[in-house]
């Protein structure tokens, strides 16, 4: 059974369709990524999925329950890592977990029994009695993840779980998420980090203007939507060189002072560039970010 099915979902705010006929179906035991520029409707989609708000049209089925009518029942088996830190600053690590577990109707003893595992999982063993304000940003984030697991959820929803973290802290969160996937949990996460999505997600849905514009595994999306190689070029004489670039480069895009050459045959491009002493370049394989930018454009969405 799919843990979450969204069908024809529509939600407008002030005449603007933030979510516009969106369809999404999660496969159990997989990690699903929801990507999209700001304003694409990611957070609204999550809120609709959790039954926090009602849709103007369409249906949401969460763990077999219709949303938002049966939200309280469905959320018993859902864990949420919100975008904004909402830990209780007046409590210690342990008290945060205890208090949160009680919102699920769990008994104190039941939660206490789970706390050692949650602390070990989040790398916070030995921090049980630390006040929240003594924790680093990465620790707080890991505690938020541990808090979302207090009810042993089947589906875990994460809204930008690693935004604002340093690389070490991000890697720790990723380890935790991989462990959850290994346990057969279903994950649904939004992120702005393409490397994060590429590393973690089995299935990616790219959202733009309130609907899913493409869906597939990171590898599928790269193979299907973009040339395998990218050469980024910048420096003096770029404009002159650009004019002749099209003859040996399949597709070129300029963003500011940088020219992106997408190609099947990077050797030809590189050979050409070697004769241009004023130009500097970086040759790399195409990645998810290239796909994302091709599909959603390079314009800022503020």
């Amino acid at each position: 059974m799919s843990p979450l099915i969204l069908r024809g979902l529509t939600k407008s705010y002030g005449g603007v369709r933030v979510v516009d006929g969106l369809d999404l179906e999660l496969e159990p035991g997989r990690c699903h990524g929801l990507l999209g520029p700001n304003g694409a409707g990611k957070t609204t989609t999550l809120r609709l999925a959790l039954g926090l708000i009602g849709a103007d049209a369409g249906t949401v089925d969460l763990l077999g329950y219709p949303m938002p009518a049966e939200a309280a029942l469905a959320r018993r088996k859902v864990g949420v890592v919100p975008q904004v830190d909402s830990l209780d600053p007046d409590f210690t690590v342990r008290e945060n977990l205890l208090t949160y577990g009680r919102y699920f109707g769990m008994k104190g003893r039941e939660i206490e029994a789970r706390i050692p595992y949650l602390l070990e999982f989040s790398g916070l063993a030995g921090k049980a009695d630390a006040p929240i304000n003594n924790l680093s940003g990465g620790m707080r984030r890991r505690l938020t993840l541990a808090r979302a697991l207090v009810n042993d959820p089947d589906l875990i929803v994460l809204d930008e779980p690693t935004t604002g973290l340093d690389p070490q802290a991000r890697h720790l969160i990723w380890q935790g998420l991989r462990r959850l996937i290994g346990q057969g949990k279903t994950l649904l996460l939004t992120t702005h980090f393409m490397d994060e999505a590429e590393r973690l997600c089995d299935v990616i849905s790219v959202l733009d203007q309130g609907r899913v514009i493409v869906r597939g595994s990171p590898r599928e999306l790269i193979v299907k939507h973009i040339e395998p190689h990218v050469v980024e070029i910048y420096g003096d004489g770029l404009n002159e060189w650009k004019d002749c670039a099209s003859s040996f480069c399949k597709r070129c895009e300029q963003a500011g002072e940088t020219l992106f050459c997408y190609t099947d045959a990077p050797d030809k491009v590189v050979a050409q560039l070697e004769q241009q002493p004023g130009l500097r370049y970086l040759h790399r394989p195409a990645n998810l970010e290239d796909v994302f930018l091709k599909l959603t454009g390079r314009d800022l969405r503020d």
């Binding site: 708000i53 919100p82 209780d88 409590f91 208090t99 919102y103």
Partner: protein, 253 residues
């Protein structure tokens, strides 16, 4: 509404309060006591009697009602706003099976409980200084405090729901709370006011609370118990209903 789902929310607030009880108790309890004793002895020394009793005895019931009002109001404005808006505690809870109604009920009952504590503190002073006429009757101050706390907690949550920031609460204090303290009969009997002002004051929730509390301290049976009780329930109930509607619009739209 019958279920106890709100209880973990109440309990969360209680646990936080327990950690910081010292300064909180001081602010909530010592402050009104100082007012009562300072004014009661100081101003009371200049007065023969008010309503046939020493001024301190007269002031006791007003202080109790005013203390309950303050306690419930501060809790549902500043503390609840901090939980809702700054700490995002409510949003975290809404991701669990609890509904916004249950969160607000937890807050309502918590603020009521806390204001009841303020009432008990004043009652201790009333008993210790012998400011009452009939001990058994003073016990009826507890249900009065309960209704009064409920009334101001419900209204406070409605104000909380529409507040953009902490500064906004000054409007409520200046336009509602302060007039009630000065016109509701805390410091003098409403009969001392000009008729037109006394007629307005009669509608204020704090006036209803004091109309119930004062006779109980002075050993008389309050008149119009049902009217005053229903008025407090109505103010609180309408406030809570508005709070639910407005907070839903604020957080879950």
């Amino acid at each position: 509404m019958i279920n106890l789902n709100w209880y973990p929310v109440w309990r969360r607030n209680f646990l936080v309060w327990k950690k910081l009880a010292g300064p909180s108790l001081l602010g909530n309890l010592a402050d009104p006591m100082l007012y009562m004793l300072g004014l009661g002895y100081g101003l009371g020394g200049l007065l023969q009697s008010v309503d046939g009793v020493p001024y301190l005895n007269f002031l006791a019931a007003g202080t109790l009602a005013y203390s309950v009002m303050n306690s419930a109001t501060f809790e549902t404005l500043y503390s609840a706003f901090s939980r809702m808006h700054v700490q995002k505690t409510w949003e975290a809870i809404l991701n669990t099976p609890l509904t916004l109604k249950e969160v607000l009920l937890g807050e309502l009952f918590w603020a009521t409980s806390k204001s009841l504590l303020s009432a008990v503190a004043i009652m201790l002073v009333i008993w210790a200084l012998g400011l009452y006429d009939n001990f058994t009757m003073t016990l009826a101050l507890l249900p009065v405090a309960l209704l009064t706390g409920f009334c101001f907690a419900g209204m406070g949550l409605a104000i909380n729901a529409v507040s953009p920031n902490f500064d906004f609460f000054l409007y409520y204090f200046t336009l509602a709370i302060t007039p009630m303290i000065l016109l509701g009969g805390v410091f003098y009997p409403p009969s001392a006011l000009p008729v037109w002002l006394a007629d307005i004051a009669a509608w204020l929730p704090l006036t209803h609370a004091i109309e119930l509390a004062r006779p109980l301290v002075l050993g008389r049976i309050p008149s119009d118990i049902v009217l005053h009780g229903l008025a407090l329930i109505a103010y609180g109930g309408i406030g809570f209903a508005a709070a639910l509607k407005l907070t839903t619009r604020r957080l879950l739209k």
